[in-house]
Symmetry: C3
Subunit: 273 residues, 3 copies
Amino acid sequence: MFGNYLSDVRKKQPHIHCITNYVSANDCANLLLASGSSPIMADCPLESAEITALCDGLLLNTGILNPEKLSAMQKSGKTANALHHPVVLDPVGAGASRFRTESVQSLLKELRIDVIRGNLSEMKALFCHAEISHGVDAVASDRITEENLPEMTKLIRQIAAVQNTVIAVTGQIDIVADKNQAYCIHNGCSMMKSVTGSGCQLSALTAAFITANPEHILESTAAAVCMMGVCGEIALEHLKHYEGNSAFRNRIIDAVYCLDAETLDKKAKYQIF
Amino acid sequence: MFGNYLSDVRKKQPHIHCITNYVSANDCANLLLASGSSPIMADCPLESAEITALCDGLLLNTGILNPEKLSAMQKSGKTANALHHPVVLDPVGAGASRFRTESVQSLLKELRIDVIRGNLSEMKALFCHAEISHGVDAVASDRITEENLPEMTKLIRQIAAVQNTVIAVTGQIDIVADKNQAYCIHNGCSMMKSVTGSGCQLSALTAAFITANPEHILESTAAAVCMMGVCGEIALEHLKHYEGNSAFRNRIIDAVYCLDAETLDKKAKYQIF
Amino acid sequence: MFGNYLSDVRKKQPHIHCITNYVSANDCANLLLASGSSPIMADCPLESAEITALCDGLLLNTGILNPEKLSAMQKSGKTANALHHPVVLDPVGAGASRFRTESVQSLLKELRIDVIRGNLSEMKALFCHAEISHGVDAVASDRITEENLPEMTKLIRQIAAVQNTVIAVTGQIDIVADKNQAYCIHNGCSMMKSVTGSGCQLSALTAAFITANPEHILESTAAAVCMMGVCGEIALEHLKHYEGNSAFRNRIIDAVYCLDAETLDKKAKYQIF
C-alpha cells in the first residue's frame, strides 16, 4: 500500500514550497529531488504567497525562526489554505523559547495544517503544557517505547482529535495518527539521530507524499515516515566500517533516490491501531 | 582551448565575492575551492561593498532573495563596476514572483553585468515578457532541443545583443552567446537536474572562469558551462548502483577538483555558430 | 591526555548553542553530532538568550554577519557569561570590513570569551592593527612556519595575555596558547584548506571540547585542534584517486564520528612551550 503513495510522488512530481531553515535546507531540497518532487525555497514575505500559489504543497519548518520568516509562513499558509494545497508544519524547537512556542501556536491558530510532524517534546510543549523542550531532541523521559506505546498512541490520537489534523511523532518508534486511527512504525535506526535535520528532511518528504496523495493524508504520511526509516536501514547496510554520520547522511538521500515501491512495501514494519 | 581557461583559474586563484542563497551556498563554496578559486561570502549591505573591493570578481545569485540582500547586491555591483571586476548574475526564480522579477530588473538596469546565467524560463520572464517561470526549473515547453536549437540560438543572441552582455542558458543543451557568436554545448547528463543548486554552482564556477580570463568573457563562460557538464558525466561514470543524487552531488564537486585542462579539452562537446 | 578530553565529550554529550553562518552551519551541526555533542542553532535576538540558557556552551561565529545576528550574539554571550557557560568566538572575516572588525571588537569588549579560534590574519587585524585581512584565508606573508614558530608563539601568547583568554590560531602549524603556555600542533594536511568552513567546524568542535572540560580550557582546546588535524589525516588516507574536496569533507566528519581516544593520543603531534 505504502508503495503506491511513493509511486504517486514519482509520477505527479509535486512542487513543494519550503519555508525552512538554513541548517538543513540543502538536505531537504536534495531529499525532495530524490523522491521525485521539486523543492522551491523562498522565505521573504514580499513574495512567499506568490511562490506558494505556483506550487502544489507547502512545508513550514520553524527552525532558525525570525519574525520575517514567520510573516512569510502566515502569508503562504493562508494562500495554501485558500488554494486547498496540503500543508505540513514542523514545529522545530517548540518549547525551547517563548518566541518559538508562541509563533508555532499562532500558525496553528490561523492556518489549517494537514500534518504536524515533530518529536514528542515539541508536541508536549505545544499541546500538553508539559516541561520545557530541550531543543530539537526529544526529552529522554518522553521517549516512545514498546512499554508505553499504547499510552502514547492514545495521547497522540487525542492531540490529533483536538487539533483536527494528522500528527506524526517520530522517535525510536514513530506514531502517525488522526483521531480515528494510528500507525505505529518500527523502521529506522538509532544512527539517524546523528544526522542533523533528519527530522526536517522527513517533514519535507511528508509534504511531497501528502501533496501527491491528498485523499489519503494519514496513510501517505505514514508511508513517508516509513520510507525515511527504511532508507535509514538501507543506508546503514551500505555503510563501510570507517564511515560515519556524513556518509550516512548521503546514503539516506541516495536510498530515497533508489527506493522503489515494491521494496518499500517489503521492508515496511508497522501496526495499525 | 577551454583547458587554458581552467588552467588560468588554477593559476590565478581568483577571490570571488558571492552574494547567494543559503540552499546552495555550501556547495558553491566547495565547488569554487575545487576549481582553485576562493569564495568569500557576505550579504550584509553594511559591508558588502568593502568585501567586493577585497575580491577579484562578483557573483550575484537571487535565490532566497530579500530586500537586505538586494541592497547588498546593488552596493557590491556598483563597487565591482567601478573597479572593473567581472560580474555574474544568476537570476534565480525570475518570473516566479513580482518581487523577484523586479529585483532582477533593477539589478540589470543599475549594473553592468558581464554574464547572465540562468534557465530558459528565467530568460523569457526577464526578456520576452512570456509566461510565468515555474520556480527554478525551466518550463517544459521551453526546453532547448536539437530541433529548436537554431531558433533558440538566435533568440539568445538577440537577448545578448539587447542587453549587451553574455547570456548562458542551460538545459538539456546549453547555449552561451554574445551578440556575435554562440556556443552550443552538449555535455552534461539529465541527472544533474536532481542536484539542488547545480545551476547556482555553475554560476559560481562561471564567475571564477571569467574573473581569471577577463579578456575572454564569452569563451571562458562557455568553458565553465562545458566543465560543469563534463564533471557531471565523470560523476555519473563513478556512480555505484545503489548511489543516488547525494553521492552524485559530491562526485561532481570531486570531478571539478580532479579535472585537468587536457581532459576538459578532450571531453568538451560543442559547436560554434 | 587529549584522548581523555574526547572521552568527556562522548560521555557528557554537551548541548552547544551555535550562532553561526549559513555556509557551514550544516557541516558544523554534523561535526558536533559526530563528536557526541548536540548542536542547537538559533540566531534571532528574540530568543537567543533563552536558547543559550537551555544549553551548556556557546559558539559565536561571525561569518555572514548582520546586525540582527550580532544582537543575538550579544544577548546570548551575556547569558552564557552569567551562567558560566564556556564561550568560543570565531571572528570570521575580522579585518575584511569595518563592520565585521568593529562587531568582533564589540563582542570582545562586552563578553568574557574563553577561546578565540581564527587564522593569523584575523588575529592580526584584531590585535596588531596590521594589514587588512584577505577574507577568510590567512594572508600569505603571515603564515606560521617552522622558521617563525618561536616568534609566532610569543606573539600569540602576548595576545592571549592581553585578552586574558585562550587563543587558537590555525594554519600550516597550529598554535593554541594562553599567557603561560603554548601548544604547537603539527597535525592536519594542506587539503583541509579546500573544504569550506573547516575552520568553522573546528571552532564548533572546540566549543564541544571546552564545554565538556571546563576546568581545562587550554588543554581541551589543543585537543580539539589536534583532533581536527588527525581527522584530516585519516580522511586523506581513505581518499580514492578520483575523489576531491567534497568526499574529503565527508570523510573528515566521518573520521570525527569514528575516532576513539586511543587513536587520538597515538596520532597527536604537538610540542608544548
